[in-house]
Symmetry: C2
Subunit: 251 residues, 2 copies
């Protein structure tokens, strides 16, 4: 079977494109959502926001240096930026990572003027929630699902008013079942945070990236250590799945 | 036009797969070479060897920790590993980076037992040559094209004898015209090193990854700073092109 035939067969089978991991196609089958962006406009600013899963060791001192690898960190943002930049060299994209480890929704709100609104992103991607649960559970924070829901709803609502032209991507917070940092209560207790994010994406007509579904599919193929040992922070392989899922859901 | 139709159209046009940058398809058109590997076997060991372009800040202390991101560095090896690991979770691949900044061919030879043969790679990828020229030009090294050619030929020849089952990938050394570290003499003088590598790949029936062609195509789309400011070390976007080209040429 030569390569051309292989492409044909893949397309006819409707499994999506080569180089998109099978896992991602299982989690995000078929065509994009109705909201999917038609394409990237020239000079588009793309901003990734979130907690440690987004932060991934980015250098704070380079934060205004669009597209710099040191600023992008070592996770799904960097991998997504690599693909976007290599595939769209004519577009002069400007990609930023402003995730901060440990952040909960209210902490995004506190720094939103500086770390979101002032950048006037064309695409804004938010992944937040695991610390809203984790820090509460650890006794370091008093918020609960209701507060997560209210805070995130407020953040999205005010952002839509301030940046009416911005496409907003809301990423599903996720955990990897069996991860070293999780106990057995996580799976049921964290589900409410995921549901809240999903409902907010629906209510505000945002692009939703179903990361939990992606990792659930991934865990059918390889154990949790392969995708992210502690169950919260993805490995390189896990980050690549996130990147491919983001690209498939958003573009 | 829905996504399914878009895939069909792309396939019919024969331009290759979605998510492979247009630049890579221009440099590596159509099907794979006759040598292309049919697939990745289970437990395959994949070793990347070379100089700083391969090294990319990898942590020496993690060098035996297969697939660890810190060991893989921040360049094309890490990006290639991310894709291989996410796409092949059932295969238990073991991927290593043993590039060392500043290396010339004879320095690979000196550490070959420890950093290649002992790992018994199923796939061995080598990118070497820019320092063989650069250090000679800078007066730090007495080698020339003839020595590069002889040293690389010896290295490949002995490796084929020691590791008869290993698939060897020889990557084309490259420069990005106009880079800050290059003067006008580089383009003509370095061509001989590239030609030597290409001829060796032919003579030993190796997979050849035409990185120079990839970057020549890339420079038609965006300036040198976008792909690698100094003309030797690729940016994140440049590293992603390398990764996609490697994957297209090898798999």
């Amino acid at each position: 079977m030569n390569r051309r035939n292989f492409f044909k067969k893949t397309v006819i089978a409707g499994t999506g494109a080569i180089l998109i991991p099978e896992i991602v196609n299982a989690a995000i089958p078929g065509t994009n959502s109705e909201n999917a962006f038609a394409g990237l406009k020239k000079d588009a600013v793309i901003l990734f926001q979130g907690d440690s899963i987004t932060d991934t060791g980015r250098k704070r001192e380079d934060e205004n240096n669009a597209n710099a690898q040191s600023m992008l960190g070592n996770g799904y943002v960097m991998l997504t930026a690599a693909s976007l930049l290599a595939n769209n060299p004519l577009e002069s994209l400007k990609i930023y990572n402003r995730g901060i480890s440990g952040n909960k929704v209210f902490q995004l709100q506190e720094r939103w003027e500086k770390d979101c609104l002032s950048l006037q992103p064309d695409i804004l991607s938010i992944l937040i929630g695991v610390n809203d649960y984790w820090h509460m559970k650890g006794g370091k924070y008093e918020g609960d699902i209701a507060k997560y829901n209210a805070d995130l709803r407020d953040l999205i609502s005010s952002t839509k008013k301030e940046l009416p032209g911005t496409k907003i991507v809301l990423c599903e917070p996720f955990i990897l079942a069996g991860g070293a940092a999780l106990d057995s209560t996580w799976e049921s207790e964290f589900a409410g945070y995921r549901d809240a994010a999903k409902q907010i994406a629906r209510d505000f007509n945002l692009i939703f990236v179903p990361f939990q579904k992606v990792f659930n599919e991934a865990l059918k193929k390889a154990p949790v250590d392969y995708w992210g040992r502690d169950g919260v922070h993805p490995s390189l392989a896990g980050a690549e799945l996130m990147s491919q899922a983001w690209l498939k859901a958003v573009l």
